[in-house]
């Protein structure tokens, strides 16, 4: 279906990544946001709280991020599209109820405008060091989806994909921005509402007596019933059966957990998104994401001028990771180069998938800024040797 025009600010704007992200959420149909102030993400909710009253949306500033996350899981169960927004320290607090969202199979979006960490770190400066937290941060086994935008324009565009994916697969989707993109102001073009495709909440058409809240259909995703429609369902963070009733047994765990994981891993080809450029015949392939992907292009240009054949994979959906594609490439190239604003996170995935067939070279940056393109060029030259 098409987007509700009330939330779509059609036109060409000059916006920072945080504002663009907020506009993306509203265009995607988000009508409930709970959040707690934290630099450098707060502008997202400031934008939303100013515009929500004019489109029937509700914003609440909760007492902390534990509460914000719990509130969006709760509100999503009324059929409302929900968002919360935070940065590193708040992301850590949200992990508990991100796990609840995964276990209850709740569609919602969590934005993390990454800053330098650990702990309070560099509140006003950039980082990409929460990428593994996005994958493994909550306890237990689960799979989520995570995206990473490289510009304010993408902060808008990908927000719509984030909401759509969360509805499609009934999972929390993590939106892994970074301070640099969040606080950078650029041109953002917002299309007319009738050009924005929206995935609505898929409500069951079964009557209350026949409905089982956790009976998966063909693609591993159960149908949804929302609170207040007479289904009187039960949902819990405990291991549960198809009725949503707790069952404390290894058998039930064996039924439930693989399904939660497979609904993502079996659909990797549908969920995965990356830009690929010049990987055919390349000696070196850069694997990159977020703001680093932009800076890396300068390093690539420098290396190409020196005659190195460099290809690029820019991850748009970072989780699930496009494992098979990296495996296939590994046998055709000399090396992968992975620049990231951390001391080695996504590089571990690349290295794992390369499986020793191609070398994997990390170009680390501790955070607080972006790479010097020369460092990326140097790594490419080293890799090509």
């Amino acid at each position: 279906m098409k987007a509700d025009p009330a939330g779509v600010l059609t036109g060409a704007h000059y916006l920072d990544g945080d504002f663009a992200c907020g506009e993306g959420a509203m265009a995607a149909g988000c009508r409930f946001t709970a959040g707690y102030p934290i630099t450098p993400s707060t502008e997202v909710v400031e934008r939303i709280s100013r515009r929500f009253p004019m489109m029937g949306g509700t914003f609440i500033q909760m007492e902390d991020e534990l509460a914000s996350m719990a509130a969006v899981v709760g509100a999503s169960w009324t059929g409302t599209k929900c968002l919360t927004v935070t940065s590193g320290p708040g992301f850590s607090l949200m992990m508990e109820n991100i796990g609840l969202g995964a276990m209850m199979e709740t569609p919602l979006v969590v934005v993390n405008v990454q800053r330098g960490g650990p702990s309070t770190g560099l509140p006003t400066m950039t980082g990409q060091a929460d990428m593994m937290q996005a994958r493994w941060g909550s306890h237990g086994d689960y799979r989520l989806i995570a995206l990473s935008p490289q510009s304010p324009q993408e902060s808008f565009d990908l927000m719509i994909d984030a909401f759509n994916l969360s509805e499609e697969y009934r999972v929390p989707v993590l939106f892994m921005m970074d301070e640099c993109v969040g606080h950078m102001t650029e041109k953002v073009v917002i299309p007319p509402a009738d050009e924005i495709e929206i995935v609505p909440r898929k409500l069951t058409d079964k009557p209350p007596g026949e409905f089982l809240p956790y009976k998966a259909n063909g693609n591993g995703v159960p149908e949804f019933a929302r609170a207040g429609d007479g289904y009187r369902f039960h949902t819990t963070g405990l291991t549960h059966d198809e009725r949503g009733y707790p069952v404390m047994s290894a058998e039930c765990q064996e039924e439930l957990i693989p399904r939660l994981i497979n609904k993502i891993t079996d659909n990797v080809d549908k969920i995965s998104r990356f830009d690929e450029e010049n990987t055919d015949g390349a000696d070196v392939v850069l694997v990159t994401y977020g703001i680093t992907a932009r800076v890396a292009r300068m390093g690539i240009d420098m290396a190409r001028k020196k005659g190195v054949k460099v290809g690029v994979i820019r991850l748009i959906v970072v989780w699930p990771f496009p494992e098979q594609h990296i495996r296939d490439l590994a046998s055709k190239i000399k090396a992968f180069v992975v620049p990231e604003i951390n001391l080695g996170q996504m590089v571990l995935e690349v290295e794992r998938c390369a499986g020793g067939k191609a070398e994997t070279i990390l170009v680390p940056h501790a955070g607080g800024g972006v790479h010097n393109p020369q460092d990326i060029c140097d790594a490419i030259l080293r890799a090509a040797k």
Binding site: T185, E186, K187, V370
Partner: protein, 194 residues
């Protein structure tokens, strides 16, 4: 690829960030260029050396930060002291002449404007930064006066357009009156940045 980097600095309350926003908007929305603005945040954004930077280019801006600006717009002494050494050897200096007393360097065209006093004469000191923008548009010639004027109009709070446009025009006029005859030379200097 040609890229022009700008730094604007002043003290909190002078509208440094809005100034950067207006220049960026004029370039990105009105003049179909690419313009990436970054503002200083946190403790840096408070006090007397608040700053915003712009990277303006005819192709996509890949590297968002700047190190040696082509144009340095200064509205406070503290901002001047903090960033003065960054300006390119042939960079353009645009400054509030009653607040900043720069040490002029050879090779760096410089233009002073009493923007606070002009704003006062219009009845509202708050539009000092818009006077400065008019003066900047006329002196640095990075984006046309019309595009800048339009960006001012669409960026200021509704109801204040008239006053702000008056301020903008006053800034332009001050340049024409003071530096009018040097226009050719200035234009050449700006073109060199490319």
């Amino acid at each position: 690829m040609s890229r022009t980097d700008i730094r604007i600095t002043g003290f909190g309350g002078q509208g440094v960030v809005l100034s950067g926003y207006i220049i960026g908007r004029a370039c990105a929305i009105n003049a179909s260029q690419h313009a990436t603005m970054i503002q200083s945040f946190g403790p840096e954004a408070r006090g007397s050396a608040c700053s915003a930077t712009l990277a303006i280019s005819d192709s996509e801006v890949l590297y968002p930060y700047i190190s040696r600006p082509d144009v340095f717009v200064v509205m406070s002494t503290e901002g001047y002291d903090k960033y003065r050494d960054e300006l390119k050897d042939d960079g353009i200096l645009v400054y509030e002449q009653n607040l900043v007393h720069p040490t002029l360097k050879e090779g760096q065209p410089s233009f002073g404007v009493p923007s606070t006093r002009i704003a006062e004469s219009l009845g509202r000191t708050i539009v000092q930064n818009i006077v400065m923008l008019g003066f900047f548009a006329a002196s640095a010639q990075i984006v046309s006066r019309e595009d800048m004027r339009d960006a001012v109009k669409s960026s200021v709070p509704p109801g204040t357009e008239e006053l702000n446009l008056k301020a903008f025009d006053a800034g332009c006029a001050h340049f024409d009156e003071t530096y009018g005859e040097k226009k050719e030379e200035v234009g050449a200097a700006a073109a060199n940045q490319g």
